[in-house]
Assembly symmetry: C2
Homo-oligomer: 396 residues x 2
């Protein structure tokens, strides 16, 4: 996170540095409210805990709530400073006083997805039926299941309709899923660097990532919790990921062909700076993210499909307003996929605005290109919130 | 190979099917002629054997010889039918009677690179000093070392000057290296889908490939020859490769999101056709290509650098004619890298022609887009050969 923040500072000099200060992750267990979660697979999951954070204050009529949705390896800690590990939230430059998601005005919630490993119920959680980690006994989950769980959290806050659901990458998929599953509960959606469905290339990268983890004998068919993570496989998996998150150009800018040593070194140790960077990222990830969660979540997004009539069924209209953003240099979630979202929304007579931003940061841009995203999102939320207040709580 | 040939047939209906018939790989041991090979690392290697094939006949004044150079996992079997494994050469549609490299007219040689595993001396060869496989005792090799070895083969044929050196991808790098190392011996060069040097993104992909192999405990620090290949790691490595060889579009055309089973199947077995394809390719490769060769050769191409004055030193001119070809959808060796080659050649007053072809096949295009390549190369060779005959053996 710190690396990202440094990048942000150089790239976005006029980002305001108002911080929401110290935050603490909280936990909500759904089972306390009633039954288990019914999953798309037909299986039941319970008890289900969601880790979440909130920023700002919910207003009296609960009309100012924004649900921020994280990407593949993200977590509930989207903004502010955690005293637990002294980390700054992954979207800290976007969420806070006077920022894109202005906490003077809005109540922002970010919840970790189920299947994850950052406090929400996932394959590394204890299975109450056995007293052991679920591992591969954890049921298969989908993006819809993630959203159904989040809906229970929103119910817990007594929020009838969200002002906005917003996220990049897998966060954008969840935003689309929210519209599909609960159109009446979503006033607006911000979908950044995302897609209606994975292309075969995206599935292929995820499959290689999974195979890399599963090829590690320390994975033990998922039952590695007593012995530690399958570090080597997980590290290679994440190295692949990091190549796809950056662009050819941003790699050139950041590393070029620089070598740590001036001496032409023969051998198989990493010699180029880009190699060392990937090693560092891979090992770091293997220390902080559960390998099985990576398997479950990549599979969930591969199966995600909002194309055709899945997003808005025939005969239905939605009053949700959409802001779709993509980045020119993002080749993992290329702009044509965002344009496909817009095309589908227009076809279904939805209110959609699209903007392609000129960043060179590749897919990472949704985390680091703050200025232009701030302008677009601030204005979009203003308009949504003001229109909302005029029209009354339930929209048009 | 058969899959590629089928693709070619549908894509290139007017490719002529004249085959040069049955061919046999031959072997030439350099050490027999004299000393060992002095490598760029300062080490010596010997004896050195090169596997090679030839097609067509060398003319009386030995002025019609073309050296075809293969890519990363290629071999000497570039054309015709091998009775050993009933395989058709990897550039069979380009080499043969009346084809791009017309064997009625030219004498075509293709030699496997040192460091490889297809009959040339490499890490899987027996180290005469120990009687065991070299494994990681094999010295570090560079693209220049590959070319120095090939030069000894050309000497063996008594060829003073090659009419052309030609290759795609790593084959194109060898072609450039030939010009750099032996400009007086190269009348022309065809450089397809290649580069002056690897970008950090290309190095990054190769490093992930290497790490995937080395993360497999069955790699045994390179000393796996008694136990069999590190199959899982090598398979994952090749899966990554195959993603980079294709384009987003060609994957969409070939696989889309098709699943073998209509049923939505939960679990981590490959479900999408693209996943099954990658698995097949990965396992197939692990059965046919030496893991250590993959490590050595990827490292050689990462260190390759013909930028600046490396290709043509200051104060020198070359009379080599160049044809540079790239493919619009090739994102592994993008067109801008070919344009960089052309820019450098023009700056150094060399005779260079450039063409970007409109294929959707990605990097694989150099193997499968036959029609347009044939037109360009046929014409280029005609002109080179005719000019050569008029001007006399030693050029203009």
């Amino acid at each position: 996170m710190k690396t990202l923040l440094n990048m942000k500072k150089t790239k976005n000099e006029n980002v305001n540095n108002n911080s929401i200060g110290v935050v603490e992750t909280q936990y909500h267990t759904i089972a306390g409210q009633g039954d288990e979660l019914s999953l798309e697979s037909g299986e039941k999951l319970g008890p289900v805990t969601l880790a979440y954070e909130t920023y700002g204050n919910l207003n009296a009529d609960k009309s100012n709530a924004i649900l921020v949705l994280h990407a593949l390896s993200g977590d509930a800690h989207a903004a502010g400073l955690s005293l637990e590990d002294h980390s700054v939230g992954w979207w800290n430059d976007m969420i806070g006083p006077d920022k894109a998601f202005d906490t003077h005005r809005y109540f922002v919630i970010c919840s970790n997805v189920i299947g994850g490993c950052k406090g929400s119920t996932g394959p590394s959680s204890i299975n109450p039926a056995t007293g052991k980690h679920y591992a591969l006994d954890f049921p298969f989950i989908t993006v819809a299941d993630m959203v159904h769980a989040q809906r229970r959290l929103i119910d817990y806050f007594g929020i009838d309709k969200l002002l906005c659901v917003a996220g990049g990458s897998m966060g954008g998929m969840q935003a689309l899923q929210w519209v599909s599953s609960y159109p009446e509960k979503v006033r607006s959606a911000v979908v950044i660097a995302s897609t209606l469905k994975h292309s075969p290339q995206q599935i292929a990268f995820n499959e290689v990532v999974r195979q890399s983890i599963m090829a590690d004998p320390s994975w033990y068919e998922g039952s590695y919790y007593e012995y530690g993570q399958p570090k080597k496989g997980l590290s290679v998996a994440r190295m692949i990921g990091h190549i796809t998150f950056m662009s050819d150009k941003s790699m050139e800018e950041k590393f070029s062909r620089r070598q740590k040593s001036d001496k032409f070194s023969f051998g198989f140790d990493p010699a180029f700076e880009v190699e060392k960077y990937l090693h560092y990222r891979g090992l770091n990830f293997a220390q902080r993210f559960d390998a099985n969660s990576y398997l479950y979540i990549t599979k969930a997004i591969d199966y995600f499909d909002m194309s055709g009539l899945n997003l808005i069924p025939l005969g239905k209209t939605v009053d949700t307003r959409f802001l779709i953003i993509s980045f020119k240099s993002d080749w993992l979630y290329p702009s044509y996929q965002s344009q496909d979202i817009v095309r589908l929304l227009k076809k279904r007579h939805a209110d959609a605005t699209y903007c392609e931003l000129n960043s060179t940061y590749g897919h990472d841009a949704f985390l680091v290109e703050i200025n232009e995203q701030t302008t677009l999102i601030k204005h979009f939320l203003d308009k949504t919130f003001n229109g909302y207040m005029v029209a009354g709580k339930h929209g048009r």
